[in-house]
Subunit: 110 residues, 2 copies
DNA sequence: CTCATTCCTATAGATTGTCAATAGGTGATC
DNA sequence: GATCACCTATTGACAATCTATAGGAATGAG
């Protein structure tokens, strides 16, 4: 077993995906690994969570995709942020900050 | 309308309820108001979210309830934390901190 | 007295996002 | 040419929240 796996809070996966694509184009599993790295191993996003999210977000117009070749010469579908996706990253980041502030202030109450 | 209603992140409602009952016994709507106050109006928990959560948490053994009278002389069901509930509050608080840290560190990545 | 209003609890139905489990194709390696 | 690691993908189940609606009970207005 892992050292206590932490489940995602529903709604945070989109933000993590957007953020992971902020700097570079990545393929599916690359996104997953990047998220694991960005969160210091706290969140492990599994395929059954990742791919539905990617499809959903592409549908929403935040991502675009193209087939390419991975570092290991395998067929891989790469994703990049669209313009709308960059906007959404800003929006969701702000929303997260708002939520995070509100929660922390609640937890500090006496 | 309000200044952009913020939806709860799934999983945070329990923690807010536990925390709201940390200091005093409250009835359902009292909990809702306390949460709104603790989060400076960020989270407005509506009955359709609140009551199912209360029932679920009582079922889980974190809360106990009794019928009493509200400040306005109305029949009201009061909730208090059980011993297990106090433990759960600690657990979920720590979990939130872990998640919050991971998210913030992800959002600060370049 | 009676009618409207506010307070409080409650449930039904729908939606949504995540998880667990499973599958299959395709390069690489030996 | 068999096995392994990599990569995408889907299915079915599940759980939590939201919207909308309901109704009882005390209060206050006229």
């Amino acid at each position: 077993m892992n050292s206590k796996q932490v489940n995602l809070l529903q709604g945070t996966l989109d933000l993590l995906i957007l953020k992971s694509l902020g700097a570079a184009e990545l393929h599916g599993l690359g996104i997953s690994r990047r998220i694991e790295q960005m969160t210091q191993g706290t969140f492990l996003v599994k395929p059954g969570s990742l791919f539905p999210a990617l499809h959903r977000m592409e549908e929403a117009g935040w991502l675009s995709s193209f087939w390419g070749e991975s570092e290991n010469r395998r067929r891989a579908k790469y994703y990049r942020l669209t313009k709308a996706g960059k906007g959404q990253l800003v929006v969701e980041t702000q929303e997260w900050k708002k939520i995070s502030l509100a929660m922390n202030s609640a937890l500090e109450a006496t």
